[in-house]
Symmetry: C2
Subunit: 121 residues, 2 copies
DNA sequence: GTTTTATGTTAGAAATAACTAACTTTATTG
DNA sequence: CAATAAAGTTAGTTATTTCTAACATAAAAC
């Protein structure tokens, strides 16, 4: 599977986080979380559905497929790894660290993520 | 001045690095450094020139303006800081570290950059 | 149960950034 | 200095991502 764009990874992660509280995620909530319009979100949902990462039935909640869940979890774990490095090693303020992790997780290589994990052990 | 896009920040940084060796940077070298075509680079040069960050005379080398130099130096220093953390502390392969630094430098907060600098001392 | 509000969808437009291909100018070299 | 190679430019296309505005459907409130 071709690598997701930064944008699509963000949408997927938003769906994942929103789905932790209840089954599926609403277009409005995803849009609000990411600070974009519902129209943009809808367009993104089509893209993610085409890639088989979500199930997107009209007027229904967006649901992650197993493949989508797996990818979203990977991103989420990256986030945690980066967050730990920033807070525990570099002593960055947790609020700032969380914001930074949210950006860095989309651009960092697997090699570097693995290096951080080794270092943290 | 409106914040530069990641892409433009990258072009500016490439010009800066190439200008360290000789006066100005060539379109071909910028293109090669960033892995894009000369056409794409040319288009980007127009954008940077419009913003007053470079001087871009036809068929001549690209030169940073004082404003462009200042911005590029800021980005470059961030890059160096991140690169050091990745290679010296986390033992990431230098080639990977450089690629990652090139992405992270555009999204990382000043707070975290300062935290890394403190840590490296 | 109709009306109102919230939510979801679609179409069309704009901005960004990349590409290929054709062409022009400058530099190199024989 | 003419021929060739390298570098730079331009035009046109494609993909991504966003937006606004208009419209459709679902949920809520009265």
């Amino acid at each position: 599977m071709k690598k997701l764009t930064y944008t699509m990874e963000n949408y997927l992660e938003a769906i994942y986080v929103l789905s932790l509280e209840e089954e599926g995620a609403r277009v409005s909530d995803i849009a609000k979380k990411l600070g974009v319009t519902k129209a943009s979100t809808n367009s993104a949902m089509s893209t993610l559905a085409e890639k088989g990462l979500i199930i997107n039935e009209k007027y229904k909640k967006v649901i992650l497929t197993p493949a989508g869940l797996e990818l979203a979890e990977l991103t989420s774990k990256k986030h945690e790894t980066i967050f730990k490095l920033l807070t525990e090693v570099l002593k960055v303020d947790p609020i700032i660290a969380d914001q930074d992790a949210c950006q860095i997780e989309h651009v960092i290589s697997n090699e570097t993520i693995e290096a951080i994990r080794s270092y943290l052990k």
